[in-house]
């Protein structure tokens, strides 16, 4: 009878933990997003230049932050999976990819809706927009590669290599607005000499960002659970084939 070392134990322990954290993360996400939306759309002041159009920012900016954060998390998990071969890292990296792709899509769509009234164009091929589009394609490639192998483990490792290689795009996305004189504005919040955004707009923005982050954690936990279930199905199927 073949044995299956460390294939089931660790995800099971994680599942117990995640069941405890999930309700809190979900409640936090719902609360923060609810408060943040009302605050941003109802009470935050219009911008001195852009007027009410600026309210797109409260969705666009957190989504763009999460798009990058998700990829950074995914790349870090992938690197640790390649080095230490920890199953949970693989599950979490796989679970992260579609969420990150959604955040990137939201950032791109809201960005183009914001670009039309302020810049005068839905889409411009400047360095920031182009590198974020590449980020979106990287997410899609990661998801396609992870699912393209008959052996899940192998797909996970190939996708992990891709995620680590693709991480070179992250600094390009972040610093494109500083390195090149782009149409996209430079950073307003994450800059060395303090935010260039008034407190009455910064706080609702940060609330929304925290809500997005909590939402990410909640969805990630649910998705890891799903990935781990899919993995167990495969292990059991193999065990049956081996036993027969």
């Amino acid at each position: 009878m073949p044995s299956f070392p460390h294939s089931l134990a660790s995800p099971a322990r994680f599942r117990r933990l995640s069941r405890r954290v999930l309700p809190w993360a979900s409640a936090l996400a719902a609360g923060l997003l609810g408060v943040g939306l009302v605050w941003a759309l109802g009470f935050a002041p219009p911008d001195y230049q852009q007027g009410d159009t600026v309210r797109v920012m409260y969705i666009h900016v957190p989504a763009a932050w999460m798009a990058m954060l998700c990829y950074a998390v995914m790349a870090a998990l992938s690197a640790s999976f390649l080095v230490w071969k920890h199953q949970l890292a693989d599950l979490a990296a796989r679970a992260s990819a579609p969420i990150g792709a959604c955040f990137t899509a939201v950032a791109l769509i809201t960005g183009s809706l914001w670009g039309k009234p302020t810049w005068g164009a839905y889409w411009v091929w400047d360095a920031r927009l182009t590198s974020v589009l590449a980020l979106f394609f990287l997410y899609l490639g990661h998801m396609a590669l992870a699912g393209a192998f008959d052996d899940r483990e192998r797909g996970g490792r190939a996708a992990a290599i891709l995620a680590v290689v693709g991480a070179v795009n992250l600094p390009i996305v972040k610093f494109s607005v500083d390195w090149w004189n782009t149409l996209h504005q430079p950073a307003s919040v994450l800059r060395l000499d303090g935010p260039a955004i008034h407190g009455s707009m910064l706080w609702p923005l940060l609330t929304m960002a925290a809500g997005f982050a909590a939402f990410y954690v909640a969805v990630l936990l649910v998705r890891i659970d799903g990935e781990s279930a899919a993995r167990r199905v495969e292990v059991l199927t193999r065990r049956r084939a081996a036993g027969a």
Binding site: L82, L133, F137, A144, L145, A148, A158, I161, V168, I172
Partner: protein, 221 residues
Amino acid sequence: MSAFWTLVRRDVTLAVRRGGEAALTLGFFVVTVALFPFGVGPDPALLGRIAAGVVWVTALLAATVSLDRLFRPDLEDGSLDLLALSPLPLEAAVLAKCLAHWLVTGLPVTLLSPLMAAMLRLDGAAHGPLAVSLAVGTPALSLTGGIGAALVLGARRGGALCGLLVLPLFIPVLVFGVSGVEAAQAGLPALPHILIEAAILVAAVPLAAFAGAAALRLALE
């Protein structure tokens, strides 16, 4: 070092003997470029404006179509096992194979680009920058392409998947390759753009070596 060149020479020989792979790539490149005047009309001003982009995108596609053959035949006939076991580090073997890929795709495309540029009525002053940008950029395509080709070994529908993985990684090379030529067309120096392309090329060497070798080891398991 001699093992490295032995591998390069074998891959180039194979590509040349296998129905002239270099000639096929070149044919693909020339025919595709020649399709554009039919598609967008023969207006010289329009063609001249899009020439750099057309030549670059076509060169990129020419590099992509042959990527699937970079490692797959070696995997299928067991050559990859022996490459991984030979005293030559697998990282170096990946670089050798990417170099051979460039010699039969990127290099001929670069050499032929002035002719294509003339066909598309590109401004004469931009011919040199176009050739230089291709000479610096196409090796980077072969290297990043090598990563994609190694990653999809053993995957279902590997060929189509390889394109999906590799094309977003090609975007920076394409952007700076074309922007250098456009700068030259506008009478500005192309050098800064070429330097960034060179930076991408230099960074792609270790990236392709490590990621490519890791992907090949995965495919051999």
